[in-house]
C-alpha cells in the first residue's frame, strides 16, 4: 500500500482473530493460492471469495493471535487486502505483517468501522478516512523506512532490491 491508496471496502471481524482461522492447518502444506481460498472461512465462508484488491480487514483486540505461521499474513496479501486495521495486534503477527508486506494499522477506533464501509488510509500520516460514515480516525503511523519495506512486498523483496547491483542507495 502507498501513503494515499485508493478506496477499499471493510471486512469486519471481532477480537482475537487467530492465525488458524487466517491460515487453516488442514491446508498449510499446499500453495499460498490454495491456502488463501480458505482464509477466515471458519468465521465467514464467503470472505475469500468476496474480498477484492485494495479492500481492508478490520479486527478488534489481539488480531493475529496464535501461531508463528507467516502464511497468516501472506494469504491476506494474496487476496489483495491492502491493510489490516485493528485495535491491537498479537506481537508475532505484527512482525510477520511487516516482513511479508502487509500494513498492520493499530487504530483505537477500529470498532466504529462497519462491514462494507468505504475506507482510505494514509499509513504515513496515521489516518483512516471512512467515506461511508463521514468519519476519520487516527491510527499508529508506520515509519517511512518500514513502509518502504511493506511497499516492496516485504523483507525479502526489499533486501533483494537493495542488494541488486547498481540500485543500492
Amino acid at each position: 500500500m502507498s501513503a494515499t491508496p485508493g478506496t477499499g471496502r471493510a471486512f469486519v471481524f471481532g477480537d482475537n482473530v487467530d492465525t488458524d482461522a487466517l491460515a487453516p492447518g488442514l491446508y498449510m502444506k499446499g500453495s499460498i493460492e490454495a491456502l488463501a481460498r480458505h482464509c477466515l472461512e471458519s468465521f465467514d465462508p464467503a470472505f475469500a471469495r468476496d474480498v477484492a484488491q485494495g479492500d481492508f480487514v478490520i479486527g478488534g483486540e489481539n488480531f493475529g493471535m496464535g501461531s508463528s505461521r507467516e502464511q497468516a499474513a501472506m494469504v491476506l496479501r494474496q487476496l489483495g487486502v491492502a491493510a489490516v486495521i485493528a485495535r491491537s495486534f498479537a506481537g508475532l503477527f505484527f512482525r510477520n505483517c511487516l516482513n511479508l508486506g502487509l500494513a498492520p494499522l493499530e487504530c483505537a477506533e477500529a470498532g466504529r468501522i462497519r462491514p462494507g464501509d468505504a475506507l482510505t488510509v494514509d499509513a504515513i500520516e496515521g489516518r483512516i478516512t471512512n467515506r461511508t460514515q463521514g468519519q476519520s480516525y487516527p491510527c499508529v503511523p508506520i515509519p517511512a523506512h518500514l513502509l518502504e519495506m511493506v511497499n516492496d512486498g516485504g523483507l525479502l523483496p526489499h533486501l533483494a532490491k537493495r542488494l541488486k547491483p547498481g540500485t543500492a542507495s
Binding site: 477480537d15 482461522a21 487453516p24 502444506k29 483486540e61 489481539n62 523483507l155 525479502l156
Partner: protein, 426 residues
C-alpha cells in the same frame, strides 16, 4: 534499580550492561530452532534468492515434527526437502521424527539458562522453563536470523505472576494455565514477558513448568520465564548439561515489573476451557454432561512423560467409554521409551488408548486424528481455536491430562478427582 530476568538475558545478548523496557536493541542469537513446516521448506528458497548461507550451523537445530510420518505426497516432499537441506548444509543438530521440537530442545541438551534463542514456532517460549529467553518468529524473520545471526527486539516489560500455596491431588500446571487465560485474558500482556514465581511454581517438575511457559503464547506474551532453581539444575544434569552459573539467572528483588499478579493454587479446581478459546476456562463442574467423541493427549503442551503418567494414574484398571476414542501421541520417542519402560504405556493401551506417532499431529490439524463436523474433542493441548483440529464445525475443549483421561472413561467431561481418590483407596 534492579533488573528482571528477561532484561538481564537481553542485555547479555545485546552486549550491553543493562537495557530498559521499550528500547529497541539488536541481540546475538545463541540458538535458532526450526521445524519441517516453518524451516527449510520456507527459508531454503529465500537463502538462495539472497545468495546467502547460514551464519553458524552449530547454533541451528532442525526438527521434523509437523508432517511426520508423511501422510501424502505433499508432506513426504516437505520432509524430503528438509532432510536434503540439512544434509547439504551440514546441520548436525537434526532430529528426524524424534519428537516435538520444544520437547526435543531440553531433552537433547540444547537449552541452558541465560541463552537468547528464537524458534520458528509460536510455542518457542516453552524453553523459558529452563531460564532461556526464547520466542517465536515467522519464516522470513528466521531467514534474516540465519543470514546474520542476530535479531532486533523491543525490550518487553515483565509481568510477574505469583502462585502461592500448592496444587491439590488431581490438579496440574494446565489448571493453573487455563485459570491464567481466563483471569489475565489473551491480549493483556501485549507481547510482554510473563515470569512465574511462588511456592506452587517451585513445586512443579520441569515438564509441568514447561506447560506454563509454553502457553505464555496464549497470554499474548513474547515469552514466559521461570528462573532456574535446584529442580532445573538437576534436570539439566540429567540431559548432560553442566553449567556453573545456572542459579545466577534471576530477577532482582527490586526489579520493576509492569504488573504483579497474585493467585493461590491451594483451592484451585480442575479447569476446562470451552470452544473456541483458552480464555473460556471454568471449573470442570461447570460442564455437566458434555459428551466427548475424542479425547486427545498430545502435543508439546500435553504429552510429556508427566502427562502420560497423569493419564495412566486414572486409566489403570479402567477402560475408555464406548462411543469415545482416546488418542495418545507421546511428545517424543524418548518419552515413549520411558513410558514403555515404567508401565505407563501398558496402562494406557490396556484401557483402550490408540497410540499415535510422536509429533504435532492433530493439535494443529496437520496429521492424523482430526475432527469431523459436529464432533467434540477434549484435549490436553494448548489451543482450541475454531476449526484448529479439523472441520470448522468441530469443537475442542481443553483440560489437564487427568481431566482428559477421566473424561475418556465416562465419555463426558468429568472431574478426575473422584476417580483418582477411588484408585488411591483401592
Amino acid at each position: 534499580m534492579g533488573r528482571t530476568l528477561a532484561e538481564k538475558i537481553i542485555a547479555r545478548a545485546a552486549g550491553r550492561s543493562s537495557v530498559e523496557p521499550g528500547e529497541i536493541v539488536t541481540c546475538k542469537v545463541d540458538l535458532a530452532m526450526v521445524h519441517d513446516s516453518s524451516g527449510p521448506r520456507r527459508h531454503k528458497a529465500m537463502l538462495n534468492q539472497l545468495g546467502a548461507k547460514p551464519w553458524d550451523v552449530s547454533r541451528i537445530v532442525v526438527v521434523t515434527d509437523h508432517y511426520v510420518p508423511a501422510f501424502d505426497a505433499d508432506s513426504a516432499a516437505i520432509l524430503d526437502l528438509t532432510r536434503k537441506w540439512v544434509r547439504d548444509e551440514g546441520v548436525a543438530n537434526f532430529y528426524d521424527m524424534q519428537g516435538i521440537c520444544h520437547v526435543i530442545l531440553p531433552e537433547r541438551g540444547h537449552l541452558r539458562p541465560g541463552i537468547f534463542a528464537v524458534g520458528g514456532d509460536s510455542h518457542s517460549p516453552m524453553a523459558g522453563a529452563w531460564g532461556c529467553f526464547m520466542f517465536g518468529i515467522g519464516a522470513t524473520e528466521m531467514c534474516g536470523v540465519l543470514v546474520t545471526g542476530d535479531i532486533w527486539l523491543k525490550v518487553p516489560p515483565t509481568h510477574q505472576v505469583r502462585w502461592a500455596g500448592r496444587l491439590g491431588e488431581g490438579l496440574a500446571a494446565k489448571d493453573i494455565m487455563l485459570t491464567l487465560c481466563r483471569e489475565m485474558g489473551l491480549g493483556t500482556v501485549r507481547y510482554g514477558v510473563v515470569e512465574y514465581v511462588g511456592p506452587a511454581i517451585a513445586a512443579l517438575s520441569m515438564p509441568e513448568r514447561m506447560v506454563l511457559t509454553n502457553m505464555s503464547a496464549e497470554l499474548g506474551a513474547q515469552t514466559g520465564l521461570i528462573a532456574p532453581d535446584q529442580t532445573t539444575v538437576e534436570a539439566l544434569a540429567a540431559a548432560g548439561v553442566i553449567v556453573s552459573d545456572a542459579l545466577s539467572w534471576q530477577s532482582d528483588a527490586d526489579a520493576a515489573f509492569a504488573k504483579v499478579w497474585d493467585f493461590d493454587a491451594s483451592r484451585l479446581e480442575p479447569q476446562v476451557a470451552a470452544p473456541h478459546s483458552p480464555e473460556n476456562a471454568a471449573p470442570v463442574g461447570d460442564y455437566p454432561g458434555v459428551k466427548i467423541d475424542q479425547c486427545y493427549i498430545g502435543a508439546c503442551t500435553g504429552a510429556k512423560l508427566d502427562d502420560l503418567r497423569m493419564a495412566a494414574s486414572i486409566l489403570r484398571g479402567r477402560t475408555v467409554a464406548r462411543g469415545t476414542r482416546l488418542l495418545v501421541a507421546p511428545a517424543s520417542q524418548r518419552i515413549l521409551a520411558a513410558a514403555a519402560a515404567d508401565g505407563t504405556l501398558a496402562a494406557l493401551t490396556a484401557a483402550g488408548a490408540i497410540l499415535m506417532p510422536s509429533g504435532c499431529g492433530a493439535c494443529a490439524g496437520y496429521g492424523a486424528g482430526v475432527l469431523a463436523e459436529g464432533e467434540v474433542c477434549l484435549s490436553s493441548t494448548a489451543r482450541n481455536f475454531k476449526g484448529r483440529m479439523g472441520h470448522p464445525g468441530s469443537s475442542v475443549y481443553l483440560g489437564s491430562p487427568y481431566t482428559v483421561a477421566a473424561s475418556a472413561v465416562t465419555g463426558r467431561i468429568t472431574d478426575p478427582r473422584p476417580q483418582l481418590a477411588e484408585k488411591v483407596a483401592a
